[in-house]
Structures are given as structure tokens and as C-alpha cells.
Amino acid sequence: MTFSYEILWIVFSFLLTLMVLSYLLGDNIFFRFASHLFIGVMAGYVVLLISNQILWPYLVRPIVNGTLPGVLWLGIPVVLIFMLVLSQFKGLTWIGSLPLAYMAGLAAAIAVGGAVFGTLLPQSRAIVDSFDPAMWYAVPNQTWFRILDAVLMLVGTVGTLSYFHFGRKRKSMTEEDLEKRPAILEGLSKVGQVFIGISLGAVFAGVFSSSLLALIDRLLFIGQFINNLFRSF
């Protein structure tokens, strides 16, 4: 076998693959070694990525190349960053509230906006649009499928939403009643449970498919490596 740069990496990958797959036999020192190596590399990589792709273009370059007003503008994030760093020291934790309030305000507003304009409205609209008669008759032989699809979509979504209702039945006579929603919603939630189960089942198949392809990829890699190894001797 000719020793070359590529082969070095292939051997390295092969060893790492075996070390990680050895976890199937239980936690062991090889897996731990690979894990720590991986964490170290990723930590180093993320530091470089942030320095290269965030701090440099968003902060350092504008300060170095920018005009005075621009640099003054950047004073605000610099102060926030300084406070964030300072708050990591003992006794100065309280300083961190300000930059964290900034991040929390931003995250909360994006959550609110994203929830309403990104999820609630578009998803509701999609359900409503499926009741458009023009869509039902668009394809001649599929009218009944389209109607069934729309009705199921409505019933299933309403049922799923009912399943998540927090409030409980007002007149709770037994221990079991304490777990129940108000009567109508309880009935709908049974339908919702079925649809949730169907969705999770299908997604589970997808998750397994993805991981199975990863396993196949690794087995092929190992097989090819061993095959090449034997051929080279």
C-alpha cells in the first residue's frame, strides 16, 4: 500500500468510525477518546468560525475600516459585549442582566412574530384553502379525494388542538375525571390522539430511514476499506 496524504485521512476516518461504532458494545475508552477528540475539534472550529464569520465582519472590520460615526454606533454593542463578558466574573453577575435582557427581548419578539406570522396564520390558511371548491374540481377524478382530504385536515387539526387543551372538566367526580378536558374537547381529543400518533409514526419511519442510511454509509466505508487493505497486500 502506498502511503499518501489521502490514505492517512482514510485510515484516520476508519479508526474514528470503529471507535464510535464500538459504543454499540457499551461505553468504552475508545468511544470516549473519539468523543473528546471530536468535542475538542468542534470547539476549536466554532471559535475560528465565530472569529472569522461573525466577529470580524460584524465588529472588527467596521471598527478598523469604518468612519467615526460608524464606530460610535458600534459603541453600543461593544458595551453590551463588555458587560456580558464582565458578568461572568464572580460578584458581577448582575451586570449581565442588560445584555441578556437584550437577547431575551429579541428572542421573545421573534418567537411572538414567528408564531403568529410564521405558524398560526399560514398553517390555518392552508387548512382553509383546502376548502376552496375550485381546488376540489381542478382534477376531474380526484374530487372526492380532495374533499376527504380537506375534511380530514379540518377534523384532525381541530382534534389535535383539542388534545392540547389545558383546562379540565369542571365537574370532576372521580380521579380519572381530573385528567379529562371539558366534554366536547375530550371527545375531539380522542380523534386528535389518533392523528398525532399517525404523524409521529410516519416521522419515526423517516428518522429511522435517515439513520439507517448513515449506518449503510459507514458499513460500506468499512467494507471498502477492508477490501482495499486486502487488495493492497
Partner: protein, 571 residues
């Protein structure tokens, strides 16, 4: 007023002629006698839950922690302090620092507890305030209120104790159990008792009854025992006479000193009236509800023993790997896709076939290396097709490893050498979403003096956009962003099988022109685009794996059904 000795080591009260502290056995000789509070008042304080001896759970646990730390201290060496003398980062580091000995804060608490009135935090201050009010003028009324309050506590606790009458009913059973307790009693429980100043043997039986439920039950039970002591006229700190007589041997072995019992009744059971503020009442109610909640009957599930889990995983691993290996390395390739082409796949195929020569494509990398094998499988024939059409490809990545994965994928099809590929860099779209990034180009005004610092997304100049992603949320962010910036440019997706079901609505709504995912679509793409055989016998292994999972799920369900049936029959 009565003279008492305060132990210099632990602060416990001792009778005036004691030579050693009954709590920590410290030498008391030479200590000055201090004037202490009225014994009757003392009793009243001890009687209530709000006594002054830090008997709330937090303080007990503090004491427990201290004892633990003291025990470890002997074995541990001092560790150098790190520059940032701050909470620990690793899982271990904290423990190591804990092990250094009694932490500073605990020292401070204990020191302040002896020196300052306000040293034990807000709740303790309130308790102290309540105690102060107890010292006031209406002791009878105070007792009445305390008693009613403790009655509230005692109800469920008593109920819980009564659940196991057999254990206490038989003397033999008691003895056996007692021995068992001696054997099984964990260190921490003994430490709590030491911290509480209780004799170890005194409440063994009680701890058996209460301890299994929770510490809070045990605490509530302590209150019961204290009240009993008070009712027979003993000093609350001292060992119950009956209990003491039952456990003389063990007391001796524990080297506890015999403490004279004051025979005069220190406490008259005249119910006092307590005047407390609403806030104090709320705190008391909160504590009560917490204790009641701890005592509430819960559907305790037996912990399922998972010791066979490792063996099961090993078995399934062997099964899966063997069958995969056989499918991969033995036998030929399987045929083409069987079954209908789904609409979104058909949409993708028509998009790629309609793509003109030398088109400009924006390629978005939004997946982790873990899913690279799946994404590469499907996207390789697509990229080969794009390269063969001399497309101009611009690269953007939004996953941490995106820039690396670009090079891997394009390197595999030897496209990196071409000049038609431009890397636009990493966009931290996952941090907050690209909401702001998209807006920058659509605004009709700018902030004065603001530098051109941020990396703005391109707002046009592409004929088509292809997003490679492993999550539905990543795709969604990009679709929303790019639709704002470039509303008329068609977007297509290469995604993982797990995220595909969540993305179908975007195809239905017309926001995307097509979508492919998983190995089956890879097979279709290979045959449609006539590229090299990548899929090969992977498909056979894939099918075997999927069928195996389906079979195992069904077998598992049948097995669980049979087990339930057998259990039902046995019952």
C-alpha cells in the same frame, strides 16, 4: 430566666452543668454561662414548626451538605483557584470544589446565623419575625393557632403512617425491621439526625415510616414527635423516655451521654394565639401546601428494570449489522423505484429538466455532517447535472459545518476546480432567523453613519435556488427569508426523510417548486438524470432495514400483548 450553656462549636443549648455538648460532644468546660430565654417560651418555640433551630428542609440539607463535605475534606487536597473564581463549568469541577471543605458561603451562613438576625434569608427572617411576635403577650392564643396549623400538617402525615400498621404492630416485626434499618440506613439520614441533634435510635421507626416517601414527610413526622414530647412534659430536645428505655444498648454503643430530664413541666398545653401578617400566613400556607403535596398519594410506578437494555441493544445491533452487511456485500443491485412518483418529486424533476444551460443557481447548505450521507446521496446526481449544464453556482451556508460540507460534496464530483463556483460565506441564520438580514435591502432609508458592517444576503441575480437541509425549521427560515428578497425565483429542496412530512405544505402552497428526500428519490433521480451508480445495492440494504424495523415493531407489540395477557391471567 434559666442559665444554659451554649456550645462554642455548634451553638446547641446544653444544661448548665454539662461537661460535653450533647450535640457535637465538644468540651464545654470553661465556657461561660449565658443568660438564655425563658424555658417556657423556649418550649413554645420548639413546639411550633417555626422553631428557631433551622429545622426547615433547606437548613437540614445545608447541615447534611456540611457533614458530607467535612467527611470528604480529610481525603481531598486543596485545589488551586482558577482565575475566574466562579461557579464550575464541568460536571466534575463543581464537586471537586465542594469537596474542598466547607464552602465559604456555608461558613458565612453559619457565622451570620450566630451573629446576625437577618442572616438566613428572607423566609428565615419572616420566621424570626413571627417568633418575635410569639414572645408577645398572648401565649395561649399563639399555641392555639400553631396547633391548628400543625393539625393540618399532621393529618396526611398520620394517614401515611397508618398505611403500614403491620410493621409497628408486631414486636418481632419491629425488631427485624429495626435491625434492617440499622443495616440499611443511609449515611445521609444519620447525618441529618446528627445535624438535628436527635438521637439516632430515637426515630428509627418513624424514619422507616416516613422516610420512604420524602424528607418532607419525615420533617412533618418530626413535628409530631416533638409535640408528643412536649405533651408528656419533657424538654423537647431530650430523648423520649419510652424510646430511650427501648434503645439503651444502641444509645450506649453510639456513645451518647445521658442527659438529665427536667422533671418540672416546662410547658403547659394552653393554646396560644398567634398574630401573623398576611405575608407570613402565605408563606406558612405555601410550606403547608408543599408538605401536603409531598404527602399526596401519587401513582407511584415501579421502576422498570432496564438492565437488559444493553443486551437487547447488542442483539439488535448484531442483527441489523449482519443483515445490512449481507445485503450490501452479497447479491446484486435491485430494480428501479416501484410505486408512484409523488407530486413534489415530480415537481423537482420538472424543475431540473427545465433548467437552462449556464443558469445561475444559489445553493444553500443547511445540514449537519451527520446527515451528509443522506443528503449527498440525493444531491450528487443533481449537482452533477448542474455542473454538466455549466451552471454558475453561488454557495451559502447556514449550518456550522456548512462551509466544510460544501467542499466535501463539490469535491466528490470534482466541481471545486471550476471557476463558476462562488462562496458567499456563512450566514448565522439559525441564531435569530434571517429576519433582519432580509430587511436591509428592502428599506428605503438608512441610519446615518452606520457602517456597512453586516453581511447582507444577495437580493437577486439568480435563476433558481436549491436548499439542502436536514431540518424543516432551517428550510422554513430560508423560504421565508428568500421569498421576501427574491419572490419570483423558484425554490427547490433536497431534504432528509425525517423532515419531509413537515415540508409538504410548502409544496401545496406553491412556495416551493419541488422537493426530493431519501434514498427512493435518489433512485429516481439517478435513473432520470442518468448519472453514475451511487445507490447501487444500498437500496437492498435499505429495504431490508425498513422491513426489519416494521417486523420488530409488530413482534414487540404482540409480545407486549401476550405479556399483558399473562399478567392479567395470573392476577
Amino acid at each position: 430566666m434559666t442559665d444554659k450553656l451554649i456550645c462554642p462549636e455548634c451553638g446547641a443549648e446544653n444544661v448548665e452543668d454539662a461537661e460535653f455538648c450533647h450535640f457535637c460532644h465538644a468540651d464545654l468546660k470553661g465556657d461561660t454561662t449565658v443568660e438564655f430565654i425563658d424555658p417556657q417560651q423556649n418550649d413554645q418555640d420548639d413546639f411550633g414548626l417555626l422553631n428557631g433551630k433551622e429545622e426547615d428542609l433547606t437548613d437540614i440539607l445545608h447541615a447534611l451538605k456540611q457533614t458530607e463535605e467535612e467527611a470528604v475534606l480529610a481525603d481531598e487536597t486543596q485545589e488551586d483557584q482558577l482565575p475566574i473564581d466562579e461557579p464550575e463549568d464541568g460536571f466534575d469541577e463543581g464537586e471537586a470544589q465542594e469537596d474542598e471543605g466547607i464552602p465559604d458561603w456555608l461558613h458565612r451562613i453559619r457565622q451570620r446565623a450566630t451573629e446576625e438576625d437577618d442572616s438566613l434569608g428572607e423566609i428565615t427572617q419572616k420566621i424570626s419575625a413571627a417568633k418575635e411576635s410569639l414572645k408577645g403577650d398572648k401565649p395561649e392564643e399563639q399555641h392555639e393557632n400553631f396547633e391548628s396549623w400543625i393539625e393540618k400538617l399532621r393529618g396526611p402525615v398520620g394517614g401515611f403512617v397508618n398505611k403500614e400498621p403491620d410493621a409497628a404492630a408486631s414486636d418481632d416485626a419491629f425488631d427485624e425491621k429495626d435491625e434492617e434499618i440499622q443495616e440499611k440506613e443511609p449515611d445521609w439520614l444519620q447525618k441529618i439526625r446528627v445535624a438535628e441533634g436527635k438521637e439516632i435510635v430515637q426515630d428509627d421507626q418513624e424514619s422507616l415510616d416516613h422516610g420512604e416517601n420524602s424528607l418532607l414527610n419525615w420533617l412533618a413526622a418530626l413535628e409530631d414527635s416533638e409535640e408528643d414530647t412536649a405533651e408528656v412534659g419533657d424538654e423537647p430536645d431530650l430523648v423520649d423516655e419510652d424510646m430511650e428505655s427501648e434503645s439503651v444498648e444502641i444509645d450506649e454503643s453510639a456513645e451518647t451521654r445521658e442527659i438529665p430530664i427536667d422533671e418540672t413541666p416546662l410547658y403547659e398545653a394552653i393554646p396560644p394565639k398567634l398574630t401573623i401578617t398576611k405575608e407570613e400566613r402565605n408563606q406558612a400556607d405555601q410550606l403547608t401546601s408543599m408538605i401536603l403535596d409531598e404527602n399526596a398519594p401519587r401513582p407511584v410506578r415501579a421502576i422498570k428494570r432496564r438492565s437488559k437494555l444493553g443486551a437487547a441493544r447488542f442483539f439488535f445491533a448484531i442483527l441489523l449489522i449482519l443483515s445490512m452487511s449481507l445485503s450490501l456485500f452479497i447479491g446484486g443491485t435491485t430494480g428501479n423505484q416501484s410505486g408512484p412518483i409523488q407530486p413534489h418529486t415530480a415537481g423537482f424533476l420538472s424543475w431540473i429538466s427545465d433548467l437552462e444551460e449556464s443558469s445561475s443557481i444559489l445553493l444553500v447548505f443547511d445540514y449537519q455532517p451527520a446527515y451528509a450521507s443522506e443528503i449527498n446521496l440525493v444531491s450528487t446526481p443533481i449537482l452533477q447535472s448542474l455542473v454538466s449544464k455549466d451552471s454558475e453556482i453561488s454557495l451559502i451556508s447556514s449550518s456550522v459545518s456548512g462551509t466544510i460540507l460544501q467542499r466535501q460534496l463539490l469535491g466528490e464530483i470534482h466541481a471545486l476546480e471550476t471557476d463558476s463556483i462562488v462562496d458567499l460565506g456563512y450566514f448565522p441564520i439559525g441564531a435569530y432567523g434571517a429576519f433582519g438580514l432580509g430587511m436591509v435591502t428592502s428599506a428605503n432609508w438608512q441610519i446615518v453613519g452606520l457602517p456597512e458592517s453586516s453581511k447582507a444576503l444577495p437580493d437577486g441575480g439568480f435563476d433558481s435556488i436549491l436548499i439542502l437541509s436536514d431540518t424543516a425549521e432551517g428550510v422554513r427560515t430560508w423560504i421565508e427569508q428568500l421569498t421576501v428578497l427574491m419572490p419570483d425565483i423558484p425554490i427547490s429542496l433536497v431534504v432528509t426523510a425525517q423532515s419531509m412530512p413537515m415540508l409538504v405544505p410548502y409544496f401545496d402552497s406553491g412556495q416551493i417548486t419541488g422537493m426530493v428526500s431519501g434514498l427512493n428519490d435518489g433512485v429516481i433521480l439517478e435513473s432520470e438524470l442518468s448519472t453514475g451508480i451511487l445507490i447501487g445495492n444500498r437500496r437492498r440494504a435499505y429495504q431490508v432495514g425498513l422491513v426489519m424495523l416494521a417486523a420488530i415493531m409488530v413482534i414487540g407489540a404482540v409480545n407486549a400483548g401476550n405479556q399483558n395477557h399473562e399478567e392479567g391471567g395470573a392476577a
